[in-house]
Amino acid sequence: MKESTEVTETSPEYPRIHEYWVHNLQIMGCLLVIWFLVSFGCGILWVEQLNQLTYKGVSTLCISLGVLSLLYSFFLSYTSHKEENDNGHVYATIRPVLWGIAFILLANFFGSKGAEPVRLGGFQLGFWFAQQGAIYCFVVLVFAYVRLMNKLDHKYQVEEE
């Protein structure tokens, strides 16, 4: 959205209001991406893939995520080497390692279940998203939006009396 300085908001508060608006658009954009992914994505576009997703597939996914986290932790420890190692930094480099281990354990767990398709009870995954999951996600999204916006209003002091 192009909002150049031609706007008359010459008041000293204008830059703050503008920042508020940009921040608002970012929140909205993120939530709408999720909105799209759960409904049009999981419910329609990838519904067949989700219906056929096997535990083996999930296991492969977890392994790749685990490997990525480990690589990321190496990258972190390499770049932060020169800086002083306070507790925060140690924690920051250890966290991806923990994630990596968790993912690989999960991969092991799912891998042991074989090539069965993933089910939520009797639901195939894609079908569940289309007829149940998407709706639950919508509800969560709207309340998340309300919460984030109330915080944002407060931060930029634009809330109502």
Binding site: T8, G43, W128, A134, V139, Y145, V146, E159
Partner: protein, 594 residues
């Protein structure tokens, strides 16, 4: 007590309640008439919005549609709920901040021009009136069937009741009646679902029952897939509605139609603040989601019950099918309405229900089983929800409650739509455009007269319906999606959008949609006037007319964008207005003074 008396009692009691509330909460000022004085609690408002939103189509038709279209029916579930995410994030808080009565008022002020306002009024009336005609018809059918009167009489009763509480009560009355109606309709929908889910799967919660097992270790959905494919139908969980593109377009059209329907938007003018407008959309979605997540369970369980009633034994076995003489009472009841019709084609005294449009299976059925075609020749999808409690042999009071629920759904939506129409006529056309010097009292009177006029007009179309049930609801969404939603959204999020762009966008969006619908379904739905026929071959990219609102909306956005870039930008004070609605601070209660 027999069913008829019970129905009279339950329906009568709920109606007394609605009318009592409407009279108690009578509107005294224009502020109360249009937006309930702007003082409705967000949870109460969410409930009223939910009742306003869930029409006879949601309550009566949707589960039946899903029962016969399986996974393809998901477009309704996602489309009619996902729109609230758009509404909450893109429109509700900003329109509440703007702080006026009506949708055309925003469009008129934002696009600094009376012509835009009039174009918006026309779009609004077209969309709302088509929708209200569908409700009137649903109400007429429901009244006539359950009170045992003729269709026309049923329709007059419905018109009279809407007249009393919408015309006298205004928004304040409607809001509080709608809360009562929501309670009635949600109980009416969930109680039978709970009973049936428990009977079939042993799980009390229908949403979980859908994913549970029937009998030993077969899942309900697997069983259903098995049962329907055994009779030549498409697999329930993978059956689609047209192409993937059509499903995307359909869902999108329903979503943006939801966010663009004026009677829903108007709801967010009734809460005290911008903050409340946001959270109220959330509550509305919660209340709607209760019904919308129950609907797929109702659908699949009803389908399974229906299939197993007709085909209790093995497919192809001599005694595998239900004997016509031994059919259950509910079938006999519905046969009288002609919405369920049997025809013993192979004269074996048993009912065969299978997919004879599937050539492979039809051939096998004829050669191996001696079946001569599907014998359940008519099974109207709309009877599923109403017949459901009878199929499951639930007590009479549950059946009576379902009738009351269906009527509550139709009445509340009709009232909300009528209010949107009346405010557009009296406030936007009279007070602010053609006759600015009328007093508040005269404006109120004009509002009530235009409501009465709309009821009569809708009643007339309801009496002579040129195929106006499902087709109208779809076109109402398409019209709202292709005209009002884009104009509102660009008004808030795209500051350089000007009046030329908005007018061109609305006119071309609604024009393209109307043209497409009319060319396939007939001009004003009159049979024989469709010049391209309702045939798959003529569909643009395989998109059905019902789903075309999304294409109309895209046309609207594109045309508006191009035109606005070729014409001068909006004046400074309009840009300041846009700036001011973007922040919640300084919102006021709507009132009639300008």
């Amino acid at each position: 007590m027999d069913l008829q008396t019970m129905t009279y009692c339950v329906v009568g009691a709920t109606f007394l309640l609605y009318i009592g509330i409407a009279i108690k909460a009578r509107a005294g000022s224009t502020g109360e008439f249009y937006v309930a004085g702007g003082g409705v609690h967000p949870i109460a408002n969410g409930m009223a919005t939910a009742a306003d939103w869930m029409s006879a189509a949601s309550f009566i038709s949707m589960a039946g549609l899903i029962a016969f279209s399986g996974y393809g029916g998901s477009v309704f579930l996602m489309g009619w709920t996902g729109g609230y995410v758009l509404l909450a994030m893109l429109l509700a808080p900003y329109l509440r901040k703007f702080g006026k009565f009506t949708v055309p008022e925003f469009i008129g002020d934002r696009y600094y021009c009376k012509t835009t306002r009039i174009v918006a009024v026309v779009c609004l009336i077209l969309a709302s009136l088509t929708y209200v005609i569908g409700q009137m018809k649903g109400m007429g059918v429901a009244f006539s069937r359950f009170l045992g009167v003729e269709y026309a009489t049923g329709l007059y009763i419905g018109m009279g009741i809407v007249f009393v509480y919408a015309v006298l009560g205004g928004m304040k009355g409607i809001t509080y009646t709608q809360i009562a109606q929501y309670v009635v309709l949600i109980f009416a929908y969930t109680i039978p679902a709970i009973f049936i889910s428990f009977q079939l799967t042993g799980n009390m919660i229908p949403q979980m029952g859908l994913g549970s097992t029937v009998g030993e270790d077969t899942f309900l959905l697997d069983k259903l897939d098995q049962v329907v494919t055994d009779l030549g139908f498409k697999q329930y969980t993978t059956q689609t509605m047209g192409s993937q593109l059509n499903m995307l377009a359909y869902t999108l059209s329903l979503m943006i139609g939801t966010a663009g329907l004026p009677h829903v938007i108007i709801r967010f003018f009734t809460v005290p603040s911008v903050k409340d407008a946001r959270v109220s959309a959330g509550w509305a979605l919660v209340f709607i989601a209760i019904l919308y997540t129950t609907a797929p369970s109702v659908a699949s369980m009803a389908r399974l019950n229906l299939m197993q009633t007709v085909q209790p034994g093995e497919v192809g076995a001599a005694d595998g099918n239900l004997k016509y003489e031994e059919r259950p009472q509910w079938m006999k009841n519905w046969e009288k309405t002609k919405l369920l019709v049997f025809e013993d084609k192979n004269k074996d005294g048993r009912i065969q229900y299978y997919n004879d449009a599937n050539p492979e299976f039809a051939k096998k059925a004829e050669e191996e089983y001696g079946w001569k075609g599907n014998e359940m020749v008519t099974v109207d999808k709309d009877i599923i929800v109403l017949a459901n409690p009878e199929i499951a042999k639930l007590p009479n009071w549950v059946i009576a409650l379902v009738v009351a629920g269906g009527l509550a759904a139709a009445l509340s939506t009709a009232a909300g739509l009528l209010l949107a129409i009346s405010s557009a006529v009296s406030h936007d056309l009279l007070k602010c455009t053609f006759k600015p010097d009328i007093t508040e009292k005269e404006e109120l009177r004009a509002g009530r007269w235009s409501m009465a006029g709309a009821i009569v007009l809708a009643g007339y179309f309801g009496l002579n319906p040129p195929d106006f049930a499902a087709g109208t609801v779809a076109i109402a969404f398409g019209l709202a999606a292709s005209s009002i939603f884009p104009a509102l959204m660009m008004g808030i999020f795209y500051k350089p959008m000007n009046r030329e762009g908005a007018i061109a966008g609305m006119v071309s969006g609604i024009g393209v949609t109307l043209l497409y619908v009319f060319q396939h379904k007939g001009i004003m739905f009159i049979e024989g006037t469709s010049f391209l026929g309702d045939m798959k071959e003529n569909w643009f990219l395989g998109i059905t007319p019902n789903a075309f609102g999304s294409v109309g909306a895209i046309v609207n956005f594109a045309v508006a964008f191009i035109v606005s870039n070729m014409t001068p930008p909006p004046p400074q004070e309009v840009q300041d207005l846009v700036e001011s609605i973007r922040i919640p601070r300084g919102s006021e209660t709507p009132n009639a003074d300008h």
